[in-house]
């Protein structure tokens, strides 16, 4: 059984033809993933008991002649910020090293109801704060394409697992680019759906108005299938959208002739030349398929980084207040008064990047600075969202780079937080607007480093996004 070549369809065909059972496949996938994992460190831990139990349910359904579900038997990796009942969920943090969630995230429940098999939990930047997965308390992840380079972040482990072949698909979370950027760096498909499209229930909160759950896959079609399973209204998340979930896979029909694409001129000036060339070739391929490409302007782009890092850190400073040594496993040994207990637990438990963002977020919300930073950033966010509204009056989709450069070397940017923040420029705008956006492999640099092309569409126009991505994938492979 060649685990890295599996797709959702191949798993299904194998099960239906009884070439293997779900338990056999799961056992083999776990064996393979555990053997291969040390190369990248994509997974933090595996959950074999849960995986085999889920596989038994799939085999039971097949034996009874029932529909085993759209993800029947599919080996899945899950970013370790998404809660799994009874399975350790660390968020890449020393604070939650021994945390065992008492409930499942809605996305997890839906994956397993659809027959999906969760193999284990993947490494990530602590509380999803970072762009390289170097901020994990449990060590970095290596990019399977080039082992001396980062996989991107914060969902670096999920992207690496899918690229390495130790999972067929994976879940990540995206607040400012944490799915798209690692997908681009590792050469896989990564989707950030419309804000509210997938329930956030059970996703450890970083910045609630920006957090998304989304899939990684090796094909556009597999990503579309996973999104179809996890999307939809959830009473446990008041911000989840009630809009009906269309058949995303059916949208991949190759009919892109006449689709109008906008190329934002503000996104093309800071690219490294090789990344720019790959993006240009991707856009040319879409043009070759009959898309009409025109240059557009998103004038507020230059303010996006400042806007994002004010809003995201403000929300993070509130969300991370709960880790105080009372409810969540870790408590400082040196705690005299209750106030000491809070301060020492947080001082010892959080890593440098979380502390930096808590400090920044607390500062921008503090007396005297709230209007100047937080309120101002919220207003600029409106302008960034309006930029896209205006763009979508002229074009059907925006195409753009994902990152100014391909995967960088481990340790290369770790000492310059502002430089790391600035590299999020192309992904942050879509996050602030809450529109669907994805990274689809578009080629590679001469050194063989993957480069993803980003496709952004109107709120809830995931079908249009998948249609374009599918057409580009056909041309690239």
């Amino acid at each position: 059984m060649d685990i890295p070549s599996l797709t959702i369809d191949r798993v299904r065909e194998g099960l239906v033809a009884s070439r293997f059972s779900a338990v056999e496949l799961t056992t083999e996938a776990l064996r393979f993933a555990e053997a291969e994992n040390p190369r990248t460190g994509a997974y933090l831990h595996f959950c074999p008991e849960r995986a085999v139990a889920a596989a038994r349910r799939v085999d039971g359904r097949l034996a009874r002649g029932e529909d085993p579900g759209p993800l029947a038997g599919v080996p899945i990796a899950v970013k370790d910020v998404i809660l799994t009942k009874g399975v350790r969920t660390t968020c890449g943090s020393r604070l939650l090293e021994h945390y065992i969630p008492p409930y499942d995230a809605t996305a997890i429940t839906r994956l397993e109801s659809a027959g999906g098999i969760i193999l284990g939990k993947t490494n990530c930047d602590e509380f999803a704060m970072g762009s390289s997965t170097e901020n994990s308390a449990f060590g970095p992840v290596r990019n399977p394409v080039a082992l001396d380079r980062v996989p991107g972040g914060s969902s670096g482990g999920s992207a690496a697992a899918v690229a390495q072949g130790t999972a067929v698909v994976a879940l990540g979370s995206d607040t400012g680019g944490s799915i798209r950027q690692p997908a681009s760096f590792c050469g896989v498909v990564g989707v950030t759906p419309t804000y509210g499209r997938v329930s956030r229930y059970g996703l450890t909160a970083f910045a609630s108005s920006l957090d998304h759950i989304g899939p990684f896959a090796r094909s556009v079609s597999d990503a579309a299938t996973v999104l179809g399973v996890i999307a939809g209204r959830d009473p446990s998340d008041a911000t989840s959208a009630a809009a009906p979930v269309p058949d995303y896979r059916a949208a991949i029909d190759g009919r892109v002739k006449g689709v109008k694409l906008g190329l934002p001129r503000e996104y093309l000036k800071d690219l490294t030349s090789e990344t720019g060339e790959v993006i240009e070739r991707g856009v040319e391929r879409l043009r070759g398929l009959g898309c009409e490409v025109r240059e557009i302007s998103l004038p507020a782009t230059g303010y996006a980084i400042a806007t994002y890092y004010v809003i995201a850190t403000a929300e993070a400073s509130s969300n991370l207040a709960r880790y105080d040594g009372v409810r969540y496993t870790f408590r400082s040994e040196s705690s005299g008064t209750l106030a000491d207990l809070y301060r020492n637990t947080r001082g010892e438990g959080f890593g440098a990047e979380c502390k930096r963002r808590i400090m920044l977020g607390t500062y921008v919300l503090s007396h005297g600075y709230y209007d100047a930073y937080y309120l101002k950033a919220q207003k600029v966010r409106t302008l960034i969202a309006r930029d896209f509204e205006h763009a979508f009056q002229q074009v059907d989709a925006v195409v753009a780079p994902v990152s100014p450069f391909p995967a960088f070397k481990l340790g290369e940017k770790v000492d310059d937080p502002l430089a790391m923040y600035l590299s999020d420029i192309y992904t942050i705008t879509g996050s602030l607007a809450g529109i669907p956006c994805m990274s689809v492999p578009s080629g590679a640099t001469r050194a063989g480093l993957p480069v993803g092309l980003q496709i952004l569409t109107r709120h809830f126009d995931e079908p249009g996004m998948f249609r374009l991505a599918g057409a580009l994938e056909q041309q690239t492979s």
Partner: protein
């Protein structure tokens, strides 16, 4: 300079975050650089622009309301299972009131 070491200490106290002397020096320099970048926000005119707190879509006003139905709660044991210290069905913390 946008932020002083004194302010770093003040903000750390607001955030209940114990920082070492070395961290205070480092964060002063790093936050100062980041805040300088954030001052770019002053360049853009936002007169009459509504702040955006949440991504909103066209929806019925009551779209997020649901029937008030009782569902089984997590339960005391499950809620306490991850506590560093618990007892008699409660989270235990350092004593805050002297008798």
């Amino acid at each position: 300079m946008r932020i002083s070491e004194e302010q770093v200490r003040y903000v750390a106290a607001l955030a209940n975050l114990n920082l070492s002397a070395a961290e205070i020096v480092r964060f002063q320099a790093e936050l100062d650089g980041i805040l300088e970048h954030m001052d770019k926000l002053n360049e853009i005119d936002t007169t009459g622009v509504e702040p955006m707190a949440q991504v909103l879509f066209a929806a019925e006003e009551t779209a997020t309301l649901r029937d008030d139905v009782v569902v089984p709660p997590l339960g005391n044991a499950a809620a306490l299972a991850n506590a560093p210290q618990s007892g008699a069905g409660y989270f235990k913390v350092a004593k805050v009131i002297e008798r």
